[in-house]
Every structure is written in C-alpha cells, then in structure tokens.
Amino acid sequence: MTNVLVDETSNNLNQPGEPESWRRFFSFSTDHKVIGIQYIVTAFFFFLVGGIFAMVIRGELITPEADLVDRTVYNAMFTLHGTVMLFLWTFPVLSGLANYLVPLMIGARDMAFPRLNAVAFWMVPIFGVVLMGSFLAPGGPSQAGWWAYPPVSLQNPSGALINGQFLWLLAVALSGVSSIMGAVNIVTTIVRMRAPGMTFFKMPIFVWAVMSAQIIQLFGLPALTAGAVMLLFDLSLGTSFFDPLKGGDPILFQHFFWFYSHPAVYVIILPIFGIFSELFPVYARKPLFGYKVVAISSLIIVGLSAVVWVHHMFASGTPGWMRMLFMFSTMLIAVPTGIKVFAWVATIWGGKLRLTSAMLFALGGLIMFVFAGITGIMLAAVPVDIHVNNTYFVVGHFHYVIYGATVMGVYAALYHWFPKMTGRMYNEGLGKLHFVLTFIGANLNFFPMHPLGLEGMPRRVASYDPEFAFWNVIASLGAFLLGISTLPFILNMVGSWIQGEKAPNNPWRAIGIEWLVSSPPSHENFEVLPVVVASPYGYGKSDPLVSNADDLEVAHEHH
C-alpha cells in the first residue's frame, strides 16, 4: 500500500536545462533544493556586503576621533550593517537551510507551494537592490539605526519623497512579504506533507525548530508591518502617529517594533538550536538526550517569545509594573533554553567525539551561546539593563548571539550538509583554519564590548573618550580577523564544489532521511516515499529508520 509509484514524466517538470546544469541556479526554479542553495548563496553575498560595512565601522572605531568617514556615513554604516545582516543574511540563509533540509528530512518531494517558494526567494535580491539603492537616494541611506525609532526616523532633511528612510521601509516591507510567504509554505509543508509514519514526535529537532520559528514569523511579523506602514505614512503623507510634535506616540512604535523584533531573535536562534541538535548526536555517536523535551521546549519558547518584548524598553519611560512583569517573563526564557543546553551537553558527554569542521563550529557556537545567555540574564534584570542601556554591553551581548551562536551555527550546518548539497567533500584543513580564525576573531571582536559597555561607552557613536581606546583597538583587530576568516571559507566552498572528492550518500554515518538518498538528491528527492518506522537519532541502536530504505531511489537507476 505504501509503494506509491510516481509517474516518470512528473520527475523533470519546471526544470529548465539539464537537471545538473549550473544554469538552474539562475532560473525561476521551483525545486526546493535549488531554491535553498539560491537563498544561501544570495545571503552569503549580502553577508560580505554587511561585513564590509562592519569593517568601516571598526576602522572608524580603532581611533577615538571620528577620522575615517563622515559622521553621516558612519550612521548609515551601522544602520545598514544591522539591516543587511538581519534581513539579507540571517533570515535568508536560514530560509535557505530550511528550504533545502525540511522536505528531505520529513520525506516530502518538495515544499507544499513550489511556485510561491520561488517568488519568496526572488524577492530577496529585489529588496536587496532597493536597500542598496538608498545609497543613490538624496541624503543617502537611512541613518536611524536598524530599529528606525521615531522621531529620528522621521527626519527627512533632503525633503525628497524617495529618501533613504523611505527605501529602507520599502525594503523591510518587501522582506516581510517574502518571509510571510515562506512561513505559510514551511508550516503547511511540515504539517501536511510528512512521509508515512513520520509522526510529529518522529520529526528531527531541526524540523521542530524551523516550524516553531516560522510560527513566530506568522504572528509577529504583521505587527512590525503595521508599525512600518504607520511610520511610512508619517514620513511620506504627514500623518502624526508617531510624531510627538503633532500629538503622536513614539513609544507605540517601539511596542510594534519589539513585539516582532524580539521574537525575531528566536526566529533566528531556534533553527540554530535545531542545527546543534542534529550535529551533536552525529559527531558524538549518541542519541539526542531528552528528544521530546527538546522538541517541546521550542514551542514553549514560541509562547514565551510573545510576552517579553518590553525588556527592550525598560528605559523608555515604562511603568514599574510593566518592568517587573517583563523582567520575570524574560528570565523564564532561560528555562526552555537551559533545558536545550543541558540536553546538548548530556548528548556530548561521554560520546566518541569526531572534531570535524562542522562539529568544531557547533561546539564553538554552543560555548558562545552560553556566554550570551549569561549576559542575557544580566540584561533582563531591570537595574542592570538601565545601567548599561544603549552601551556596548548590549552590542556585545547580541553579537555573541548573532555571530557567536548564529553565524557559527550556520557555518556548522553548511559544512555538515555540504556533501549532501553539492555531492562533493569539503577540505577539512581549510575548514579547521576557518574555525580557528572565526572563533578567535569573534571573541576578540565581541568580548571587549562588554567591559566597554560596563565602563559606559555608548553605542552608535563615531568618536569616543580616549579612555576606551584599548578595548576598541582589540575589538577592531578581532573584526579584521573575522573579515579575513571568510577567505578560507569561500576558497573551500568554491574549490570543493568544483573539484572536491565525490561524496557518498552518507559520509558522516548520520541517521536521517536526507542521508538515505544520493548526494545531491535527485529532482523530486524520492522515487518512493519513505515509510518511517523509528524515532530519529537512533545512534547505537540497530533499528532501521525507514522500512523501505533500498526502494527510495529506484528511479536513480532509470535515469
């Protein structure tokens, strides 16, 4: 009954050119694997763009005087650095990983809505161009910071209708539309397209994490959209929603903004938790500790994420009862997160560790995440938060999350699934060099921000008191090291894709449906849908994961 045979002709629909042609990556392909790689490569391009902005920022800050760029250029640099890194690197690269992996992991042939998937991807380069186009706008790009607080974001000295802030809002709105399309698609795919036998509690943790993250997108993003529309009206039509001079309420914008943008942190970190949960069992040869608890804790984080946003506004004239309430709810987040951390540690504990590049990045990312978690709890405490509000302490904290855990987690995932995606093995030596440079660079760059913040150095300034110079020089050197660290990565990825050793189906001896099919998988992944009979992470056990492992790819021989 489960031998669902597919019409041979359906195998190569919508596929311009040869299935293996590189041209498919430049086409409106509807194959989730092509779209996944399109997302990842596009995002990495913008990662380099955002990285160049970061180099300018750290170049400016290596001396106390504002001497490298004009202050308005500096403002544009930190605004665009944050915006690009979030909307054009982190979200798209995680969408790419989810796109590539989720259908394979749940045993589906594609996403639920392949065309919608392609449209959502192609919006990314479009709003990327819109945002970069703001360099050409009168008055230059937005200078209001990535959170675009009014009344700063309502200033429009050039007077032009199409100004930097307008283009910023347009780009963010397009990004929101793209993300909602993606979220609808991914949630539908996970809920409705799982293979026979793949119950919710047989799904890999990465799938749980992605589903949880996309649920946050669905309820959070519309709030930001509402705030952005009202800000756009204030800016372009002269309404007074957030303009205090005309009776508006700028704090309301902060509520709209953080109601989404704090949960957005979990949209980012949950898939990284998923990556950690996938990698540690593989490279420690042990089942994931506490699978069900880890799975459910993602959903608990989703629930809590909706009731913590005001902790970004402790210094915004927030009433005392609100401060107490949100301090408490914020600290609660540490519970499901701590559960995960302990589960990973218990998974690694006593395991036979294989320190491949992927595992090194996962371990490094975990260490930096724990550090970020500790400073996060400090920031949740109202008195500490008010003391270090708007200082480098906050910047240091979230860079440990966003770079330390997230970028390192993404690198870990890219190394781990590189053989699956490309059919080639990467160079382990270059991978390890990349890890060493990244880990040292990230800590050199972001650790000094903590003492700087505690000493009182404010963020978003081009010049500072010379007493802060020591830690700033170290941070800048760390940043330049991070810039250099991308070179072995690019060399490795491009070089290995072109002439790396051919990858077998399952180079890491991992357990998972994606490792049962060829590297790279064929166009619709499975000739016969897998029938899942075992829980994931069965390391050290002899149960097969699916009952028809040998039949999944009969088609491969036909081609």
């Binding site: 009954m1 489960t2 031998n3 669902v4 045979l5 597919v6 019409d7 359906s10 042939r109 594609d110 996403m111 639920a112 809505f113 392949p114 065309r115 909602i180 979220a183 609808v184 698609n185 949630v187 539908t188 809920v191 409705r192 397209m193 799982r194 293979a195 026979p196 036998g197 793949m198 119950t199 919710f200 669905l218 309820f219 959070g220 993003l221 519309p222 709030a223 959209t225 509402a226 705030g227 529309v229 009202m230 009206f233 039509l237 002269g238 309404t239 007074s240 929603f241 005309k246 009776g247 508006g248 309420d249 309301l252 709209f256 109601f259 619709e524 849908l529 899942v532």
Partner: protein
Amino acid sequence: MSTTNLDSSLTDEAVLQASGHDEPDNRMFGFIVFLLSESVIFLSFFVGYIVYKTAATDWLPLGVEGLDVREPAINTVVLVSSSFVIYFAERYLHANNIWGFRIFWLLTMAMGSYFLYGQAVEWSGLEFGITDGLFGGTFYLLTGFHGLHVLTGVLLQLIMLGRSFIPGNYDGGEFGVAATSLFWHFVDVIWIVLFLLIYIWQ
C-alpha cells in the same frame, strides 16, 4: 496526520497528488494560515487605535463633531448580508447548479461594490483629512486598509466568476471559490470590529 499519504495511495488520482504539491487541501490550509497572520495586522491597528483613543486629551480635530453613523450602518448591513449571500452561492456550486452560483455570486459582488461606493461617498463628504491628528490618521488608515481588502475580495470574485465559464472547471469543487468565500467572511468580521470601534465607540 501521517495517514494522509497512506490513504491517498488508494486511488490513482491521489497517487498523482501524493507525488505533487498544490494539493487543494494544502492550499486551503496554507490560506487559513495566511489569513490568521493577516488578522494580526488588523489586530495591531486596532490596538494602536484603542491606545490612541484612550490616551488622547482632545481626540476630535477642531470643527469636527464626530462621525455620522447612519450611512455606515447601512453599509454594514449590506456587507454583513453579503456573507450570507456568498454562502448560498457556494451551496449552489456544490449542488452543481452553476447558474444559481453565478447569480448569487454576482449579487455578492454587487453588494461588495455598493459597500465600496458607500465608503467613497462617505470619504468625499468628510471635513477632515488623513493629516488631521490621530483621529483623522487612524480613521483613514483603518477604513482604507479594510477597503483595500474589500476591493481585493471583489476582484477575486470577478476572477472566480470568469473562471466559472470555463467548461467543467468547477466540477468537484473549486479551491478558488472556497478561498474567496472564506476571505470574504474574514473581511466581514474585521468590518464588524472596525465599525464598533470607530462608529459606535465615539
């Protein structure tokens, strides 16, 4: 949940579906997820409106005495009734009575268009604009954003009406008709909340 694919392997048609995507059930599920998400935008606007209104010291702009309720109330009755009319249109389609479907569907479109016309008349008669304080801003933002949804609904209905003339197109039900109908109910419910907030709570 996972029985979906097992069951579908029973029929030939379902075998093809299991291989593919854009399955009608998936599309309806995805559309409902989208509508839930979309409703949060309205919810955000409503919350903003309530915050503004309760905090405002002088809510109405100078020279404005409030909103006339009579015409919008008629508009409300028309729009809410159209939700029942579109339900009958769907029933006719399920009963394979294509002309019954078309007549009631067209009636829904007429009622939706009347609503838009009524709103346009109301807007043109108002003595305040979008820049007249938070009152003017929220009024035009909320009614305008909702009106845009009504317009979208009418255009979707037009497309579905056109597609009913393709022979055999609606045999065995049609996702587009069901989704348009659901969207229309959604737009209606939003309007009821909006009407209460803006016109009744003055």
